[in-house]
């Protein structure tokens, strides 16, 4: 079965979640990965969206973090101040997914600006929940497509800290921190280590034993495609 790089990325990220995880989910790739995990090997994984829905079980992939179906299928809906104080800050959520425009070798992320803060070349949406997700969950999982412009030696702006980043799943492979520096530990099928090096804006550390990610199974791909085909229009 053929599959795209984005599909491999979603599957590889989903595999990191277990039935014991309580997971803070943003929209986009993280939501795809978390919902895929729930439909395959981790049906009891608890999804928490920052809009206040705890234990949401959406039938469709939500387009926004505040979709009505998240509230309808949640175990509990709480206010946004309560979500950030009693649930995120209190350390009740073990995994947080983050995306970003830039990442540095230490897993620090930028989702604020490209260029100077006061007069940016590109004003990005900003950090949202990221600054405190990055310091409140036990394990941060980062998902972003690997390019030299995204994987940079030095961020234009540090939106969130990298200390709790445990894995970065890209469309090319998998990076994990080794002594604090993101190190290539896996490549997706058909990707060479040099491809990943070329897509990285710093001199990439590579583990001695780079795994090749198992390709998506038929079950995973079918679940992923059925999930994406029912994204709300």
């Amino acid at each position: 079965m053929t599959f795209t790089a984005d599909e491999m990325m979603a599957v590889a990220a989903a595999r990191r979640l277990t039935n014991d995880n309580v997971c803070f989910v943003g929209i986009g790739l993280p939501s795809v990965a978390a919902n895929l995990a729930r439909r395959t090997h981790a049906p009891r994984c608890v999804l928490v969206y920052e809009s206040g829905t705890i234990g949401a079980k959406p039938g469709k992939l939500p387009l926004s973090i505040g979709d009505g179906e998240l509230a309808e299928t949640a175990d509990a809906v709480v206010s946004v101040p309560e979500m950030f104080a009693y649930w995120l800050q209190a350390g009740r959520i073990d995994v947080g997914f983050l995306g970003a425009a830039q990442i540095d070798p230490n897993g620090n992320l930028n989702s604020t600006v490209i260029g100077d803060y006061a007069r940016p070349k590109v004003r990005l949406p900003g950090g949202g929940g990221a600054p405190e997700i990055a310091t409140s969950v036990a394990d941060v999982f980062v998902m972003l497509r690997q390019t030299p412009r995204a994987f940079v030696e030095r961020l234009d702006f540090k939106t969130s800290r990298g200390d709790r980043v445990r894995v970065v799943v890209t469309d090319l492979g998998i990076l994990e921190p080794r002594d604090g520096e993101l190190t290539l530990v896996g490549v997706h099928p058909g990707v060479a280590v040099d491809d990943v090096r070329a897509a990285t804006g710093w001199k990439l550390a590579v583990a001695d034993d780079v795994d090749v990610t198992a390709p998506p199974t038929g079950v995973e791909l079918a679940a992923l495609r059925s999930l994406e085909s029912i994204v709300r229009e």
Binding site: I27, G28, E50, S51, G52, T53, L63, S64, I65, G66, D67, G68, L70, A71, V77, S79, V80, P81, M83, F84, A85, L88, Q89, T112, Y117, R119, P120, K121, V122, R123, L124, P125, G126, G127, G128, G129, A130, P131, E132, T135, S136, F157, K158, T159, S160, R161, R232, E233
Partner: protein, 270 residues
């Protein structure tokens, strides 16, 4: 005690040039109609406050109503950038836009502090980020443990504006579904306006509902569809196509301006 009035009258009476105004909603129940009324009445020099400024804030900013934005995530959810917001920040068009940027956790704590009439909200946050150098945060030390914590200044908007599903004839308001930070917005603000889908004889208690008594609200206006293109749980769905379409409408200054003339400025006040 809430007066039941038209949205136009509520805005005319309660919102003034230069005010700090929060129109809140977390994807759900975004007070779009009220935002359009601010634009139609030509309000300007506003400090706009919102955790998640989206299309209606893009419109306010693109029309030059705002002097400053206090926010934590400014984008078109599920679509991408807000082009009018970007144009204002990147090119001062149509006017410079000052930013006070926070994290969601900081904004939420700041609204809660405002609702509780405390001068600051307390959290563990911002630490080790570049936000600290570009926003208003401070620190306090726990008198018991010595731990240093983050303080964010309380949000106390002049006017808080939200949209809800229902009010009764006395002006008591009920909203349900994802209720976000709307209670705090009303309670933190000096004045408040609530637009509602409908005014009913009696509010039927609902699971997950937030009820705001009439005596903490200044004006209630019946505006069916007042949250469109966002959604009102139990009334209508989110118009996801419009959010996607906004990307191209807003990308170009002229296209934006003519869309606003046709769909907002030319529209009849609710």
């Amino acid at each position: 005690m809430a007066d039941i009035v038209t949205l136009a009258d509520a805005v005319r009476e309660l919102v003034h040039d230069g005010d700090t105004v929060a129109l809140e909603g977390f994807t759900h129940l975004i007070p779009n109609a009220a935002g359009h009324e601010l634009i139609r009445q030509g309000l300007n020099d506003l400090t706009l406050v919102r955790m998640t400024p989206d299309v209606v804030y893009d419109q306010l900013i693109g029309m030059g109503a705002a002097r400053k934005l206090v926010f934590s995530w400014g984008g078109n959810p599920g679509v991408g950038s807000l082009h009018r917001f970007r144009d204002a920040v990147e090119h001062d068009w149509p006017a410079p836009l000052a930013l006070e940027e926070h994290s969601h956790a900081g904004m939420a704590a700041a609204y809660a502090a405002g609702a509780a009439d405390l001068p600051f909200g307390l959290l563990r946050g911002y630490e080790g980020t570049d936000l600290v150098a570009h926003t208003r945060v401070g620190t306090v030390t726990c008198p018991f443990t010595g731990e240093e914590l983050t303080a964010v200044p309380a949000l106390r908007p002049d006017v808080g504006i939200i949209h809800a599903q229902q009010a009764d004839r006395k002006g008591n308001v009920q909203l349900w579904g994802i209720t976000g930070v709307q209670k705090e917005t009303v309670l933190a603000s000096s004045r408040s306006i609530v637009s509602v889908e409908e005014i009913v004889d009696e509010l039927e208690p609902r699971p997950g509902a937030v009820v705001l008594p009439a005596w903490v609200i200044d004006a209630v206006a019946e505006v069916p569809g007042g949250a469109r293109p966002s959604y009102a749980h139990g009334y209508y769905e989110r118009d996801n196509e419009f959010y996607a379409a906004w990307d191209s409408i807003s990308r170009d200054r002229d296209t934006f301006a003519s869309w606003m003339r046709e769909h907002v400025l030319g529209a009849v006040a609710a």
